[in-house]
Amino acid sequence: MSNFTGIRGRIWFKALTGHEAPTPGDPPSVLTADAPIGDDNARFLCVVPDHDSRFPCASHGEVGLEQAYTLAARIREIIGADNAKDGGKKRPIIAIVDVKSQAYGRREEIGGIHLAAAASADAYATARFAGHPVISLIVGQAISGGFLTHGYQANRLIAFADKEVLIHAMHKEPAARITRRTVAQLEALAKTVTPLSYDVEDYAKLGLLYQLLHIKNPEAPSPEEISLVRDTISAAIADARQGPFDLRTRFESEAALTARKASRQIRARLEQQWNQ
């Protein structure tokens, strides 16, 4: 079982940008920095735990109201700035992802967290459709609403391949409870039902990732490893720039030909019948 510490996001944000502070006025839980990567100047974004958060349900790395709207604001800032420039490459937006979930709270629901999350996803997708290469680097956890809000709208997804990396719709214990199984049963099932697996190597088989990176010590990366990650991000940026700007690569990848056969089949069937 992975224990979420929420420290990997900050570590990799610092490693890649040299910064570790939020923009003045932003909550401490959202780190933003503009830093070079390859030939580009990219905007890096990360959500980190803030134990003094105004919102008690969003103080341990969960993506809550403030986090989602801050992300949306920082992304739209770049969209607007590059839009005003009239020509030239659109700047990449790099989401460093280590989020345990969305925030679960009464304040959050009253405050319309579904809309906050939508606003962030909207900003990321809008940036992507406008031609900004949006790259997600999953260094730790990427769960459910947290990931939908921060990272899942990227052109290209890169993930580390180690036991602490967890990409899923729900953590093991609650998922087992809700589907009325034991954790052991769930784990056994996950061996044959790939989308259920909590192992990122199995996630990679679904055809959604651009690259899976084996980093020996993700919490204390070597200069070589940081270099490797930078190069991978740059390659992803170049790949994303070629277009298209929608998410079709996710079901056109090599792995998707098998893993998402049913998705491809239903898409083809609908297309066939659309104009009949």
Partner: protein, 313 residues
């Protein structure tokens, strides 16, 4: 003592009482219809055609092996036709099957429908989309493929809504929760009935994760006071509050299609909502009224229209 005025008033009262009860009898509940019937009801008669329906038998590849009986349409119904003469695709989720949870196939049906509508719009064939959202979010039995599908749905809505309105109808009883609440959030218009509910995390999940003091999932009035259609409409987080009546819902959908793409979508109004949250004191628990009509009167999120609590169909 009676006089002709009293008799006339009495007659009018009796007449209006009769009209009200006639109206009640004539009201056709939308909620009592199943997903296919709901979708069908929206179209101009004779124009609706289901695509990739049960006889195409493209079902979930993941359920049988887990001891769950698959459904031939995977709980998602896609229909094309005209609504008030306008080419429209309606995508309806069946709340009765797996709580309307999004699986690989049901999610892909929605995404494909949106993408095909988008292509038609680009070819100069205006086509709107209506999503009947009866869904608890990602179908846990398909976990990562359900979640991926939701991300793709969100993206495809954002693509289509540039050219044509994408309308979310949340009628209940399941409501719209989980990742699909983001889909509603990025759509052009949200229509809710009082029975409908909209939120990211359901009451049980919040109680599970944050404790019963944070949310008592057995407190029904608390649930509707936060997630219910009336509350969301009052907050400006839903565009129309409509009673559970098929004719009224059809009328609403037609009006929204005619309205077209809004100048700004709710989920694009970041500064507005960000500042609204920043202005609220979060040091103690909130009541639903924390977003009062007064604070809304200063600024509105309902696609640039004035707030009016009486403004419902």
């Amino acid at each position: 003592m009676t006089d002709s005025a009293d008799i006339a008033t009495g007659r009018d009262r009796a007449k209006s009482a009769l009209t009200l009860s006639q109206e009640y009898l004539q009201r056709h509940s939308f909620i009592e219809l199943n997903a296919r019937e709901r979708a069908q009801s929206l179209f101009d008669p004779g124009t609706a055609r289901e695509l990739a329906g049960p006889f195409d038998r493209i079902e979930s590849p993941w359920l049988f092996v887990q001891g769950v009986t698959p459904q031939a349409d995977d709980g998602c119904i896609v229909m094309r036709g005209t609504i008030d003469g306008n080419e429209t695709v309606v995508i309806a989720f069946s709340g009765a099957f797996q709580g309307g949870g999004i699986g690989e196939v049901s999610g892909a049906k929605l995404t494909a429908a949106l993408d095909l509508a988008c292509i038609d719009n680009e070819k100069g064939k205006p086509t709107s989309a209506v999503m009947l959202l009866e869904t608890g979010g990602v179908r846990l039995q398909e976990a990562n493929l359900g979640l991926a599908a939701v991300a793709e749905i969100i993206s495809s809505i954002i693509a289509l809504r540039r050219d044509a309105p994408v309308i979310s109808v949340i009628a209940g009883p399941v409501g719209c929760f989980g990742g699909m609440s983001l889909a509603a959030g990025v759509s052009s218009y949200i229509v809710m009935t009082p029975e409908g509910r909209l939120g990211l995390n359901g009451p049980e999940v919040i109680e599970e994760e944050s404790g019963v003091d944070e949310f008592d999932a057995s407190d029904r009035s608390l649930i509707w006071s936060i997630f219910g259609g009336q509350q969301r409409y009052n907050q400006g987080l839903a565009d129309v509050l409509v009673e559970d009546d098929t004719d009224q819902i059809i009328k609403t959908v037609r009006e929204l299609i005619a309205k077209g793409v809004p100048a700004v979508h709710r989920s694009q109004q970041v500064d507005l909502y960000r500042s609204r949250i920043a202005a609220l004191d979060a040091s103690s628990q909130w009541a639903p009224s924390v977003w009062s009509a007064a604070s809304l009167a200063r600024s509105t999120g309902r696609n640039q229209e004035p707030v009016n609590e009486e403004e419902k169909h």
